[in-house]
Amino acid sequence: MQDFGQAFALALQLIVSADPALSEIIFLSLSVSLSAVAIASVIGLGIGATVGIVRFPGRGALIVFLNALMGLPPVVVGLLVYMALSHAGPLGWLHLLYTPTAMIIAQTVLVTPIIASLSRQVIEDFHSEYREQFVSLGVPLKTAVAALVWDARYSLLTVALAGLGRAVAEVGAVIIVGGNIKHVTRVMTTAIALETSKGDLALALALGLILILIALSVNATVSLLRLSASSRAYV
């Protein structure tokens, strides 16, 4: 086993020199997770806005269900998506297993309930504040939804970033449906798992540092956004 100090020095060197293998992994990781979050945001916000605004029978149960789905274990999502995409599965004909697309699908499934649940809460709060005023003004439903989403934009962005944090850091689902194939489906988390088990701590540590950096900058962005928004009383 390598000496930890040495591994750390090597890791920093990899980062500073923008090592191509490292960059490739980071790039793939970010593009997979950003795509997944983009898709999940569209679907999740649609669900969240609908459930947050419209009253229908079974709404309470649906909210509980969505909240429960937030805690879906990534490996279970991986397993389900694997079964759907495998040769024998209903989507086997698409031949998507072990491709970045499969990873995007898995992360989308993982993140959509989070975005749906959290944005439902946000939109519902805004709606209960604006409802009477909108009824009084005679705002049509479409305009009202658009106005709610726009006025809640800072909170909703926070929600999306929470989803991104979850997607980037997740390993269980992508390793099952992606397979951690070098140059194809190797992302940060799966690479860390593999390199650590191989004993190549330098690369694992470098990726780990980058991952922490990403998590930190996502959180910093959220805080800055909220700060600037609240200075204008927009939160």
Binding site: E129, Y130, Q133, S136, V139, D151, R232, A233
Partner: protein
């Protein structure tokens, strides 16, 4: 929307505008939450030409009554009839309510007013002209590009009032619209309301301010615990009130108005 559809809609608006909103008749109106009858059997007839003031102590049900009149709440029993209009939501489209605690969008003052204007079929030029005009009228021009929610409470109330006035409603329902305004602003708002009234807008105003009630009111409705205890012309109300509650209201002894 298709051209024909748009024309149809305009015609529909035109025909509904013909139906008078007055007299407003409130019959045996009850609004309860649980076992509490918060509005406890109100009968009222209100005519168009007079400026109506609603007074009464805290918790009397003034804000609830305005919401019921505006159709934001469904009565537990009884009914609210705006003239010949068959449905209250049709009447509501021709009214504006300024809430006791105004809800402004998380946008600039200008964007708040523009949001309201966009709900009507004005051309872009018309919209901007009305916007400019109302900003000036409500002395909001210098605040137009400030985020609405950082404004002081009094300024926010002026924005809410401007938003109501800019749509030129036939009925203005106002829930303590000048409560945190300085005397100069109060006078300015009262002038705005009087001007709107001269243009034919019906004014129904809730206030605790005796002076304001005297200055603006043609008739006064006094509420107490969800009931109308007096409904009389303003002159009579302020001079020879026969109801002991109204009498003490005038002297400001029983409760602070």
């Amino acid at each position: 929307m298709s051209n024909a559809g748009a024309t149809l809609q305009r015609e529909r608006v035109a025909t509904s505008a013909v139906q008078s909103l007055f007299p407003l008749k409130v019959r045996r109106l009850v609004y309860s939450v649980g076992k509490q009858r918060l509005i406890d059997g109100i009968d009222l007839t209100i005519e168009q030409d007079r400026r109506t003031i609603i007074m009464g102590p805290n918790g009397a049900g003034k804000s609830l009554l305005l919401r019921l009149l505006h159709g934001l709440l469904t009565p537990t029993a009884g009914e609210v009839c705006w003239g010949e209009t068959p449905r209250i939501d049709q009447a509501r489209q021709r009214q504006a309510l300024v809430f006791q605690r105004p809800v402004l969008l998380r946008r600039s003052v200008r964007a708040n007013l523009r949001f309201a204007l966009k709900l009507r079929q004005y051309t872009r030029a018309e919209r901007e002209e009305r916007l400019r005009h109302i900003l000036e009228l409500a002395s909001l021009s210098s605040l137009a590009d400030r985020p609405a929610r950082v404004l002081s409470q009094g300024e926010q109330q002026r924005v809410a009032l401007a938003r109501a006035l800019v749509l030129e409603p036939e009925v203005l329902l106002l829930d303590e619209p000048t409560v945190s305004l300085d005397p100069v602003s109060v006078a300015a708002i009262e002038d705005l309301l009087l001007a709107a009234h001269r243009r034919g807008t019906k004014i129904i105003l809730v206030t605790h301010d005796m002076g304001q009630a005297r200055r603006l009111g043609d008739e006064v409705v006094l509420l107490e615990r969800g009931r109308v205890v007096e409904h009389s012309p303003a002159l009579q109300f302020f001079q020879q009130s026969n109801d002991p509650a109204a009498g003490s209201l005038c002297k400001g002894r029983k409760f602070v108005c």
